[in-house]
């Protein structure tokens, strides 16, 4: 990946006791993993439900980022208040795309799905460059998120803490929603067996549209939250494509648990690699990904 990919909670004194290093890596890695989870959980569920390989998922994340930046710069809306807007706007935008383009391709071959979504990525990249310019967006976090808080001999960034908090809340809501609500049961039924779900009277298409919209909205929210860590420019959907794919494939399509585990694993491996062996770059995550794919081609939690 062209961009050095460091999570910004790195106020680390030059020489660190080993424990402090471990704590920092854990904190950074889990915060980053949570961000990845929020961005890619929608992709995991839609892949499991419709077996649709939507490589254009990153487009939604990018759009969320631009919504936030535009609202902040043009309308002066505070950062935190732009986040719900990023979620809602992206979710709304995703609905017609699903209804009129993706729905035609659910029974198509995997290759066609890949190509269609690659085409959409290209169009989105060019469109974003046209509207917002090809350069990375200037973005500054509000003051209270750039500070660090010392607890004992550790220093935690408030931004990282915000990611952790939002990620945890969203994870809990998703688990509750999937396991305890009627709609969640419908989603699980549709993932398990689409035809039987149709047979018992579940309107799978409607369930799917809603799930897709929520998943895309979450990607938008993640993109908005992550601007400071990931940056924001038109090539975002391609640059982070491999991260989404890793989360989904290592976790296994259709499982929230798998996506969460994979996102945390990826966040931790990436952060630990950057921290302890910076000269290897992104090697570590790619090698881990290859090994997991060879060991379990359906992902850690996937069903064969």
């Amino acid at each position: 990946m062209p961009r050095p990919f460091l999570f910004p909670t790195r106020i680390t004194p030059p020489v660190l006791p080993i424990i402090q290093g471990i704590v920092q890596v854990l904190f950074d890695g889990i915060a980053f993993g949570m961000l990845l989870f929020v961005m890619s959980v929608g992709l995991s569920i839609t892949l499991g439900m419709m077996h649709f390989a939507n490589l254009a998922h990153g487009v939604f994340a990018m759009l969320g980022g631009y919504v936030t930046v535009v609202l902040m710069h043009k309308a002066g809306v505070p950062f935190l208040e732009t986040l719900p807007a990023a979620f809602v706007i992206v979710a709304i935008v995703s609905v017609p795309l699903e209804r009129f383009v993706y729905r035609r391709m659910y029974s198509a071959k995997e290759l066609d799905q890949v190509l269609l979504t690659v085409g959409i990525i290209y169009m989105a990249i060019a469109a974003a460059a046209y509207v917002w310019g090809p350069e990375p967006m200037a973005f500054a976090l509000p003051d209270y998120l750039t500070r660090y808080r010392d607890i004992g001999s550790f220093s935690f960034s408030t931004y990282g803490a915000l990611l952790l908090a939002i990620g945890t809340v969203i994870t809990l809501v998703i688990f509750y929603g999937l396991e305890r609500t009627r709609f969640g049961a419908m989603i699980r039924a549709a993932v398990d067996d689409r035809r039987v779900a149709l047979g018992v009277g579940i309107n799978v298409n409607r369930v799917f549209t809603i799930t897709f919209a929520v998943g895309s909205g979450l990607a938008g929210l993640g993109g908005a939250l992550g601007i400071n860590a990931l940056g924001l420019d038109p090539s975002f959907p391609i640059e982070y494509l491999v991260f989404f794919l890793i989360v989904v494939s290592i976790g296994g399509g259709g499982t929230v648990k798998g996506a969460l585990a994979a996102a945390l694993l990826l966040g931790l491996c990436d952060t630990a690699g950057k921290y302890y062996v910076p000269q290897t770059g992104a090697f570590i995550i790619y090698v881990v990904m290859l090994l997991v794919m060879l060991w379990r081609p359906n992902g850690l939690f996937g069903r064969p």
């Binding site: 892949l47 390989a53 383009v101 035609r104 391709m105 198509a108 995997e110 290759l111 066609d112 890949v114 190509l115 269609l116 690659v118 085409g119 959409i120 990525i121 290209y122 169009m123 989105a124 990249i125 060019a126 469109a127 460059a129 046209y130 090809p134 391609i238 491999v242 794919l245 890793i246 989904v248 494939s249 399509g253 000269q279 290897t280 770059g281 992104a282 090697f283 790619y286 090698v287 990904m289 290859l290 794919m293 060879l294 081609p297 359906n298």
Partner: protein, 336 residues
């Protein structure tokens, strides 16, 4: 129809498929005509030929073997870097550099094939992409050998056959590239029309039934993967020889996606699809990039979406559909 008659008919059909069609010589005459018609566009022509050969190598695994790869540029890059590094360190004989590029890519393909034939679907995309990314990072970090992000500079190839020097108009490299591409096209054509090629098509159509017929699925898959890797390596080496430079992005994910796009625009599983697609893609890029460098990807994306949504198999597929339709209209609905 008796079994014997069926067999005879099947063999006749097979022969008819293998026979050279009227448009095939026409196509290659067109390629030669490029030399005389567009003398100022010879470097573009050379690049189109290299890209087409690369797309052809992808077509062998994708269009015939049904193996979808998101990282085929692994082998293209290996070929390019092999030729480039040889030339940089004192051995610039074009033909041997070319062959070395192909050979090393084939070896890499052979090593990868053990993994490739064991995974399918999204996992296959990930594994091919992952191998590519690992290699990209390696080339990026091994700055002292590969020049890292600056690319491999200062390479110079010797005269072709010790006689023809690479000229600035790209005449020699165009003719040389065209000759190599034609020979490799013949090889690819022979492969896909052999019984082995038929087994591959069976594998693509139904990979569960083929083993039941006694086909060694994994061995076929591995073999075509190695052949495809070799041709991809040769195309990379050819490009390195014609531009006398190897960029790091010859290993980049973008190139894998580009070549996939070319192949799809042209059409898979028809050999000429890769040539049509590469020509359209490169010419469109050449023209649009002049007009408007930042946004030409929009049009490529649109072409891709339209082709996937509305055609059966790229431009070649659309063309053959159109001719079938015309035939049907003229023949009063008798043809299939």
């Amino acid at each position: 129809m008796t079994t014997e008659a069926q067999t005879t008919k099947a063999i006749a059909d097979f022969r008819a498929q293998v026979r050279w069609q009227w448009y095939e010589p026409l196509f290659w005459l067109g390629a030669i005509a490029w030399y005389f018609l567009f003398p100022t566009y010879l470097p573009l022509g050379t690049q189109i030929l290299c890209a087409a050969l690369f797309a052809l190598s992808l077509d062998l695994i994708l269009g015939y073997g049904g193996i979808v790869s998101l990282g085929h540029t692994t082998f293209f890059g290996i070929g390019a870097y092999t030729a480039g590094l040889l030339a940089k360190h004192g051995w610039g004989e074009p033909i041997t550099c070319l062959l070395a590029g192909g050979a090393l890519a084939a070896i890499a393909g052979w090593i990868c094939s053990f993994v490739i034939v064991r995974v399918q679907g999204v996992a296959l995309l990930l594994v091919t992409l992952g191998i590519n990314l690992v290699l990209y990072e390696a080339a990026n970090k091994a700055y002292t050998i590969t020049g890292g992000a600056d690319g491999l500079q200062g390479i110079e190839f010797w005269k072709l056959f010790g006689v023809f020097d690479y000229d600035i108009y790209g005449r020699v490299s165009f003719v040389y590239t065209l000759a190599v591409v034609f020979v490799l096209f013949l090889v690819a054509r022979r492969i896909v029309h052999s019984p082995f090629g038929l087994a591959l098509k069976g594998m693509r159509e139904n990979w569960k039934r083929m083993p039941a017929l006694g086909a060694a699925l994994r061995r076929h898959g591995a073999l075509i993967f190695v052949l495809s890797a070799a041709i991809a390596g040769l195309s990379g080496a050819l490009l390195a020889e014609s531009v006398q430079f190897v960029a790091l992005d010859s290993l980049g994910v973008q190139r894998s996606v580009d070549v996939l796009t070319m192949l799809i625009v042209g059409g898979t599983g028809v050999l000429y699809g890769s040539f049509v697609g590469a020509t359209v893609y490169m010419v469109v890029r050449d023209q649009l990039a002049d007009l408007n460098p930042a946004y030409w990807y929009f049009w490529i994306g649109l072409i891709l979406v339209v082709i996937v949504l509305f055609t059966r198999n790229g431009l070649v597929g659309a063309l053959s559909d159109a001719t079938d339709w015309l035939k049907r209209r003229r023949g009063g609905g008798t043809a299939s």
